[in-house]
C-alpha cells in the first residue's frame, strides 16, 4: 500500500471515530462542542501511559478513552441539570480549558508538544475504528438506541413512559467522550507527536459539521459524513485554506437544501424494509 493511501485511510479511520464521538450526544439531543478537548485528554493520557509506563498502545488508548470519559461525566452531571445550549457552551469552555491547560503542563511538553515513542499503523487504527463503529451500531439495535432517540424527540413523553431522561443523556454524552478520547489516542500514537494547537475549537467544529452533514438520525450518517469530508479534499487540488473554504461552503449549502443531513432514518428503514413497504402500498391500494 502506498504511503499516501495509508495516510488517507488513517485520517478516515480517526475521523470516523471522532464522528461517532460527536454523534452519540447529538442523537440524545445534546451538542458537544468540545470533542477536541476530550480527544486531547485521551490523546495525552494514553501517550503519557505508553511513553512513561511503557504500556502497549492497545491498552493505553482505551485507558485514555476512560480518562476522557471521566472528564465528560464530570461535566455532564452538573451541566445537564439545565437544558439545551448550556451543555454546548460548557463543552466549548471545557475544550478551551483543556487546550490552554496542556500548554502549561510541562510534564507533557507544554507548548513545545509531546513526542510519543510507541507507534501504531493503519491495521491497528482501522481495527479500533471498526470496533467503535460496530459498538455504536450494536448499541442502536438495543433499547438504548431507541431510548436516546426517544429522549431526543420528546423528553417529556419519554419521562412519562418511564425513561430516565437525564441518565440516558449523561450515558450518551459520557460514551461519546470515551470515543473521542480513543480517537485522540489513535492520533497521538500514529503521528508520534502531539501538540495542544491540534485540539482546537476548529477541530471540534469540523467534527460536529461532519456529523450534521452526514445526518444525525441513523448510525450511517456519521460514517458517511466523515468519509465525504476526508476523501473529498483529497480529490480536490489547491491549498488547505481553499479546501476548508469549500468544505464550509458545501456544508452551508447542504444545510439549506437538506437540513436533516444526507441520509435520514426513514430512508434507511425504506432501504432495509423494501418488502414491508411494498406490502404497505398493496394494502393501502
Amino acid at each position: 500500500m502506498s504511503g499516501y493511501l495509508e495516510g488517507v485511510l488513517v485520517l478516515l479511520a480517526i475521523n470516523v471515530v471522532y464522528a461517532y464521538a460527536a454523534f452519540l450526544p447529538i442523537a440524545a439531543g445534546q451538542l458537544n462542542l468540545g470533542v477536541a478537548g476530550f480527544a486531547a485528554v485521551g490523546g495525552y493520557a494514553s501517550a503519557y501511559l505508553s511513553t512513561t509506563l511503557a504500556l502497549s498502545p492497545l491498552i493505553a488508548i482505551p485507558l485514555g478513552g476512560v480518562a476522557a470519559g471521566l472528564v465528560g461525566l464530570g461535566v455532564a452531571v452538573p451541566v445537564l441539570r439545565t437544558r439545551g445550549i448550556y451543555l454546548a457552551l460548557a463543552t466549548f469552555a471545557l475544550g478551551e480549558i483543556v487546550r490552554a491547560s496542556i500548554l502549561n503542563l510541562e510534564v507533557v511538553g507544554g507548548a513545545a508538544g509531546y513526542p510519543v515513542t510507541a507507534f501504531i499503523r493503519l491495521p491497528t487504527i482501522a481495527m479500533f475504528a471498526l470496533g467503535v463503529t460496530v459498538l455504536v451500531w450494536l448499541l442502536f439495535a438495543t433499547r438504548f438506541g431507541i431510548a436516546i432517540t426517544a429522549v431526543h424527540d420528546d423528553e417529556r413523553v419519554a419521562d412519562l413512559m418511564g425513561l430516565d431522561v437525564r441518565a440516558f443523556q449523561v450515558a450518551a454524552f459520557t460514551l461519546g467522550s470515551v470515543i473521542a478520547g480513543i480517537g485522540g489516542g489513535l492520533y497521538a500514537h500514529h503521528f508520534s507527536y502531539i501538540e495542544a494547537q491540534y485540539f482546537s475549537i476548529s477541530l471540534s467544529i469540523s467534527i460536529v459539521l461532519y456529523v450534521l452533514f452526514g445526518g444525525t438520525q441513523s448510525v450511517i450518517g456519521p460514517l458517511l459524513g466523515a468519509a465525504v469530508f476526508t476523501l473529498l479534499p483529497e480529490l480536490l487540488r489547491g491549498s488547505a485554506q481553499w479546501r476548508y473554504v469549500l468544505f464550509a461552503a458545501i456544508l452551508i449549502v447542504v444545510m439549506v437544501i437538506r437540513p436533516q443531513g444526507l441520509i435520514t432514518g426513514a430512508q434507511i428503514r425504506r432501504l432495509l424494509g423494501l418488502r414491508s413497504s411494498a406490502s404497505q402500498k398493496e394494502r393501502a391500494a
Binding site: A93, L94, A100, S200, Q241, Y244, V245, M255, V256, P259
Partner: protein, 280 residues
C-alpha cells in the same frame, strides 16, 4: 483593556440569543472581518475614519449573508442546524482571509501619536478610553431602540414567541435581518476598535479573542445586553488579574474556567433571570 471589545461582541451574541434563540458562532468571524478590513483599507491609503466606516459596512454585509443562509431557511429545522451553519461561516470567513492574506500577523501604522494620559503611575490610552465610551453610548442607543421604537417592540414580540409575533402581524422576514445587521455592526465595530487600538490583526483573531465574547455573554446573563457589558468588563478584568498574578499563559484558562464555573453554578449568568429568551 479588552473588556469593551468583549462587551461589544457579547452584545452582538446576546442580541441573537435573546431575540432569535440562536447562538450565532459567526459573530467572532464578523469581528475578524471588521479588524482585517480596517487594516486592508488603511493599507490601501484610506484615512482611518473612512476605513473604519467601510469595515463596518463590510461586517454588516457579511452578517446579512449569514442571515440569508442560516436563520432564513432553518427556522423550523432541527435545533442545532442554524448553530452548526453559523460555525461553518466562522470557518469559511477565517479560511477565506487566510487564502487571500496569509495567516500572519498584520500590523497597522501608529495613528494617534502618543495619546497616553498619565495620572500618577496609571497609563490610560485615550483611544482606548474613547473606544470604551463609544461602545457604552452605542449599547445605550441599542437599549433605547429596543425599548422605544416600533422595531424594538417587534423584536421583543419575536423574543417572546415567534409564532405569536407572526399572528400579531410582525413581519419576521423583514425584522430579523435587522438583528443580524445590528449584531454584525457591533461585532465589526469591536474589530475596528481592536485594529485601531492594538494595531495588530490576523485571520484567527475571531477564534482567539472573539470567542471570549461568549464568556462575556454568559457571565452577564444570556439575552441581557447590559449584562453583556458587565460580563465583558468582568472578563477583561479577569484577564488582567490573571496576567498580573498567574502569568500570561493562564489567561485562557481563567476566562474559560470562569465560563464553565458560571454554567455549572448559575447558568442564567450573574445578571440574568429576568430577560426573555435565554433558552435555546
Amino acid at each position: 483593556m479588552l473588556g469593551s471589545i468583549y462587551a461589544m461582541i457579547g452584545v452582538a451574541l446576546t442580541l441573537s440569543i435573546g431575540v432569535l434563540k440562536f447562538l450565532n458562532f459567526s459573530i467572532p468571524g464578523v469581528f475578524m472581518i471588521g479588524g482585517m478590513s480596517t487594516w486592508l483599507f488603511i493599507r490601501h491609503g484610506m484615512p482611518w475614519p473612512l476605513a473604519g466606516l467601510c469595515a463596518l459596512a463590510v461586517g454588516a454585509s457579511a452578517s446579512l449573508v449569514v442571515e440569508r443562509f442560516t436563520w432564513r431557511w432553518m427556522r423550523n429545522a432541527q435545533e442545532f442546524v442554524p448553530l452548526v451553519s453559523s460555525m461553518a461561516f466562522l470557518i469559511l470567513f477565517e479560511n477565506l482571509a487566510v487564502a487571500y492574506w496569509g495567516s500572519d500577523l498584520q500590523s497597522l501604522p501608529q495613528l494617534f501619536g502618543n495619546a497616553d494620559w498619565r495620572i500618577g503611575g496609571l497609563v490610560i490610552s485615550i483611544p482606548q478610553l474613547l473606544g470604551l465610551a463609544l461602545s457604552i453610548v452605542l449599547i445605550w442607543g441599542l437599549s433605547l431602540l429596543l425599548s422605544r421604537t416600533r422595531i424594538g417592540r417587534g423584536l421583543r414580540t419575536i423574543a417572546e414567541d415567534s409564532d405569536t409575533a407572526i399572528l400579531l402581524g410582525v413581519d419576521i422576514s423583514r425584522i430579523v435581518p435587522i438583528v443580524f445587521v445590528i449584531g454584525g455592526l457591533f461585532a465589526a465595530l469591536a474589530g475596528v476598535l481592536f485594529a485601531l487600538n492594538y494595531r495588530q490583526v490576523h485571520p484567527f483573531m475571531g477564534e482567539a479573542l472573539g470567542l471570549k465574547g461568549i464568556s462575556a455573554m454568559v457571565v452577564g446573563g444570556m439575552g441581557n445586553i447590559w449584562g453583556a457589558i458587565a460580563g465583558g468588563l468582568i472578563i477583561g478584568m479577569a484577564e488582567a488579574l490573571s496576567i498580573r498574578y498567574l502569568g500570561a499563559d493562564f489567561v485562557d484558562i481563567s476566562v474559560y474556567g470562569l465560563l464553565l464555573f458560571i454554567l455549572m453554578v448559575r447558568p442564567t449568568g450573574l445578571f440574568g433571570g429576568a430577560s426573555a429568551g435565554a433558552r435555546a
